[in-house]
């Protein structure tokens, strides 16, 4: 992993999915920081100012949408791109997330290609470079 590899914070309360997303992002060439809930995701984003955050919506405590709010409210992190992940069938959750400032949304279950497309689309427009 080169030093200018994009840094991505991934948060999901399901450890299997967390590992899966982490693996996929590593395969894309990203440096991945994992978090198992909203609070630690927010802490990781605040301290690392990553190139991207991939957040599950449904998490205990502070959920993905809550993290989006806090990240956007903080001037230090408000520019961090965010992809929401969700197995929710409530379209409203997703719409709310996008309305609050998330950049993209990937529905679970996802294929590797779908995740890669969403991630690349965002990282390409970043000055830091691309994952792959």
């Amino acid at each position: 992993v080169s030093s200018d590899a994009p840094v991505v914070v991934v948060a999901d309360d399901d450890p299997d999915i967390l590992t899966l997303v982490e693996l996929r992002l590593r395969l894309l060439g990203c440096v991945v920081i994992t978090a198992v809930d909203g609070e630690s995701a927010l802490a990781a984003i605040t301290s690392n100012k990553p190139d991207l955050a991939v957040l599950d919506i449904q998490m205990p405590g502070l959920d993905g949408l809550g993290v989006v709010d806090r990240v956007r409210a903080n001037p230090d992190t408000h520019g961090v791109p965010i992809i929401l992940l969700s197995a929710s069938v409530h379209e409203a959750d997703v719409r709310r997330g996008l309305a609050r400032g998330a950049d993209a949304y990937v529905r679970k279950p996802f294929e590797a290609r779908e995740l890669a497309t969403a991630v690349e689309k965002i990282l390409v427009r970043e000055p830091l470079g691309t994952c792959s």
Binding site: D14, D16, I17, L20, L23, R24, L27, Q58, A87, S88, V89, H90, E91, V94, R95, L98, Y105, R107, K108, P109, F110, E111, A112
Partner: protein, 411 residues
Amino acid sequence: MRQVGQKWLMVVRGHAWQAVLGAGGALAVLYAVSSAPLTKTIAYVIIGALALAAAALRPSARRLHKGYEQKRLHAFTWPRFTIMTGALAAAPVIGIIGGASGEPVDVVVLGFAELAAVAFVVARVLDLWRTRERAESAVRESEARFRALFEEAEAARLSLAQHNERLQQLDRMKDEFVALVSHDLRTPLTSIRGYIELLLEGLGGDLSDEQRKWMDVIDRNSARLLRLVADLLFIAQLDAGRISLERTAVVLTDVAAETVEAVAPTAETRKVTLALDADGTVVLHGDRARLGQLIDNLVSNALKFTPPAGRVDVRVGGDDATAWIEVADTGMGISDVDKQHLFERFFRTAAANSAAIQGTGLGLAIAKGIVDAHGGTIGVRSVEGSGTTFRIELPLRQPSTVPTLPTGVGA
């Protein structure tokens, strides 16, 4: 209040008094008095005339007339007497007072005549008063009964409202349940499908042919499970009337082409010829993903029910107002009995079951749901043993009365 009764007043000193109360409502009383001796004949005539008059005025008074004839004739056999009789002249007649005396009548007799007349009036007033009482109590009773009925109806309405609320609550619970189950099934499926994909890509090391084959089985079946979860959710949303369409200008011919292309490998595996006839461009204001799902449902169905060497033809066309899609196969066909239930959820034809063709019986129910949401129609023509054709017609534009539901994101 038909009849107060009959009252006979037998009076003093050889003077006979007769008072008869008939039925009716008049209060007027007349009485005739003569203090002069009258002949028997004249007495008959006067009494009889009054009785006849009463009888003419009121049918029930005929009995009074008869009573006179039968009971009182001998009373008039004395040589000198005075007739006193009072008929209630106002219609309807309620009675006759009659009197006969063997002597010239004196003031006492007149007084009795007066009394008898007054007795009529009093009896009549009492009668009316009692009638009014009865009527009032009947009204009160009716009121009470009405109030009881009203309270009963009110209670029923309340219970219905509670019942309704409970049903709505159950409905919400069902929705929540379906959403929850759907979410909770998709979460493990995310891991299952994600890790299978990793393995099939060889990221976990090379797979033997057998391992690959078996992984494919898991892959295919987890995809089926995922599809089933999506179908159940769709059906639940149909139930709740909450199909949200994301309407855009959709090139139906393109959607058909993409769908046919996606199922082409399946057709090839099954050795079924799959052809698309979609000349020109049909543009429809609708939900692209749902329309794709609709065509996919029909074409996948057609492929499932068509034996090797058969054909499935997909045709798309339209005019100024309507777009149509036809999916025709050369499969086993559908019996007339089965046709009636074809679009019911979970319905499976007997033929499908006996041929062990996989399916949940949700595909056509979902297809109909999508067609309905677009304001269109779906129909089927089929000949058993030779094939089935589904035809869908969709309006190009929605009537303006149909509100466009808020759009959803994702499929």
